[in-house]
């Protein structure tokens, strides 16, 4: 009994036991629910998200329209569900691309060192000095506004967030005796990197990209909000906030609040999941 009490005291109040991880569990449930809603949008959305109904303009929430309609008569709930698709896919593309390219740059720089490491580090520092928004404006000016350009510019902007952290860890990992032992055993650099260094860095990359995912979602939504991301009539959360903004002053805040709430909820859930993953990672290496 005393042992049990001691174990409970060491574990802390209901955060690390089998049933005592409410925060990561809740965050995971939110992420899973949103992803599921995006995947099943055509099945569960009550209306066509782009169907304009002049006879049902700016309706309040009701049985036919759960969250009401916008100023062109489109169903807000359906647009919210369909809007989850580009709102999640664009940041997913950004994090996958930034994670892959950033990790490749970081590991190659840490492994090869020399002029390549100096070049990669300087380039990352340069990109780090540019706000993502400035890059997006430059990208839009050169290639036109739209989600693909927003994804490309955000990928570049997020490269340093992944690469700088991964490079630091790769450098530390590279100087551990097991890497020297692998070289002594005759393993080539590519094999040692791909089969040993990368698997040991993978949890860190996962944590970095999971945490960055929420922020990239926030940024793509911001790009759409200022007109540089998704273009009308696409249903996308950032664009919905922009289109619903006048309603905030006109007493019809449903669209802006629903889309804004979805962005906040998902971003916070991603951040909490990232934190939980990094705590798990810290425990895994001991």
């Amino acid at each position: 009994m005393t042992t049990l009490r001691l174990a409970a005291a060491v574990r802390g109040p209901g955060r690390t036991g089998p049933r005592g991880r409410p925060v990561p569990l809740l965050a995971g449930a939110v992420v899973a629910l949103v992803v599921l809603a995006a995947a099943l949008a055509p099945l569960i959305a009550p209306h066509d998200p782009n169907a304009v109904d002049p006879l049902a303009v700016s309706l309040p929430p009701g049985a036919a329209h759960w969250l009401g309609t916008d100023d062109t008569g489109r169903d807000i709930a359906s647009r919210l569900l369909y809007g989850a698709r580009p709102s999640l896919l664009a940041p997913l593309a950004v994090t996958l691309a930034a994670g892959t390219i950033g990790t490749a740059l970081a590991v190659s720089a840490a492994w090869l060192g020399g002029w390549w490491d100096r070049l990669v580090t300087a380039a990352l520092d340069l990109v780090f000095g540019f706000p993502g928004l400035v890059l997006a404006v430059v990208g839009a000016a050169l290639f036109g506004a739209g989600l693909p350009v927003a994804v490309a510019t955000l990928t570049i902007a997020y490269l340093p967030y992944v690469a700088r952290v991964v490079r630091g860890s790769a450098l530390r990992e590279r100087h551990l005796p097991y890497v020297a032992a692998l070289r002594m055993l005759g393993l080539g650099g590519a094999r040692a990197c791909l089969r040993h260094l990368l698997p040991n860095l993978a949890p860190l990359v996962l944590v970095q990209t999971a945490t960055a995912f929420g922020y990239t979602l926030l940024d793509t939504a911001a790009f759409s909000f200022i007109g540089l991301g998704a273009q009308p009539p696409t249903a996308e959360w950032g664009l919905m906030v922009a289109q619903g903004a006048p309603g905030l002053l006109a007493g019809r805040p449903e669209q802006a609040l629903a889309a804004g709430g979805a962005i906040v909820l998902f971003t916070v859930a991603c951040g909490l999941l990232g934190t939980a993953l990094s705590q798990r990672l810290a425990g895994d290496r001991t």
Binding site: L176, P177, Y178, A180, A181, L182, R183, M184, L185, G186, L187, G188, R195, H196, P199, N200, R285, T286
Partner: protein, 275 residues
């Protein structure tokens, strides 16, 4: 018989600090040579130079008739060097890939260096694990599931998978409990009885030396101050520093000297730094 390892006038600087300063070594096939000295005496740097993990600033290393390959050596050169020399590190907690099962670690080396595949490879892997005192069922264990001694045994099994001519043991028992140290030293002695293999045993603990090595060199400040047969050097040391080291080995009735018997460590020579 040709020497397995010949080291002549080896020098290594780290900035203004001279870690190794004109070291000469000669090791015959199957010979066990201990390199002893206090921390900073240059013994680990010598081991890293011999294994090719570091490159020397001056001097010559010949191992099995060839110098250690550079960092950009070709595959065939790397593999040939690996079969000449293997290194067992001091810290068994970081010398194995933490995410690789120890059986896979041994199997990977076997597959890299030989024609064995499938069941034959698994049998050889299990044989190596058993030979170092591990249970073949532990092949599926990751390093964190093993004790320090078991990890060091796994690291030795991995090194033996290459069947090297020379095994460099860099303070290989220093991080282990005394009882586990004795087991590993015993294991290393038994391995030498089973097949001809040379040891370069780097240690600061003179007490272990006679159990494993016939010969010893004593290093201080990057230089060799004394060398000879282990029993001669340990029973009748000529150099005052060696005498101080021998006197510091705990034995029944031993008490630490009120005044340290050994001389202060020689300050490394510093090169003039021009502004």
């Amino acid at each position: 018989m040709k020497p397995l390892l010949e080291v002549e006038q080896l020098v290594k600087h780290y900035g203004a600090h001279t870690a190794v300063d004109g070291v000469d070594l000669r090791l015959m096939p199957g010979q066990a040579l201990a390199v002893v000295g206090e921390s900073g005496s240059g013994k680990t740097t010598t081991a890293r130079l011999v294994t090719g993990l570091e490159t020397s600033d001056a001097g010559r290393i010949t191992l099995g008739g060839a110098p250690p390959p550079g960092p950009r050596a070709r595959r065939a050169e790397r593999l040939a060097h690996a079969r000449r020399v293997q290194l067992v590190f001091q810290d068994p907690y970081t010398s194995l890939d933490p995410r690789q099962k120890i059986g896979d670690a041994v199997a990977e080396v076997l597959a890299l260096h030989g024609p064995l595949r499938g069941a034959a490879l698994e049998a050889r892997r299990d044989e190596l694990l058993t030979r170092v005192g591990l249970d073949a069922r532990q092949a599926g264990s990751r390093p964190r599931a093993l004790s320090g001694g078991q990890r060091q045994r796994a690291a030795i099994a991995r090194a033996l998978a290459v069947e090297p001519d020379l095994l460099v043991l860099d303070e290989a028992v220093a991080a282990l409990d005394v009882s586990v140290q004795a087991q590993i030293v015993d294991l290393l002695a038994r391995i030498r009885e089973q097949r001809p293999i040379a040891y370069l045993f780097i240690t600061h603990d003179l007490g272990i030396v006679p159990f494993l090595c016939e010969d010893v060199v004593v290093m201080r400040g990057g230089r060799i101050v004394e060398s000879g047969r282990s029993r001669d050097v340990l029973t009748a040391p000529r150099d005052p520093y060696t005498r101080a080291l021998v006197d510091s080995v705990p034995r029944p009735g031993w008490k630490p000297a009120r005044q340290p018997a050994r001389q202060p460590a020689r300050q490394p020579e510093r090169k003039a730094v021009t502004p």
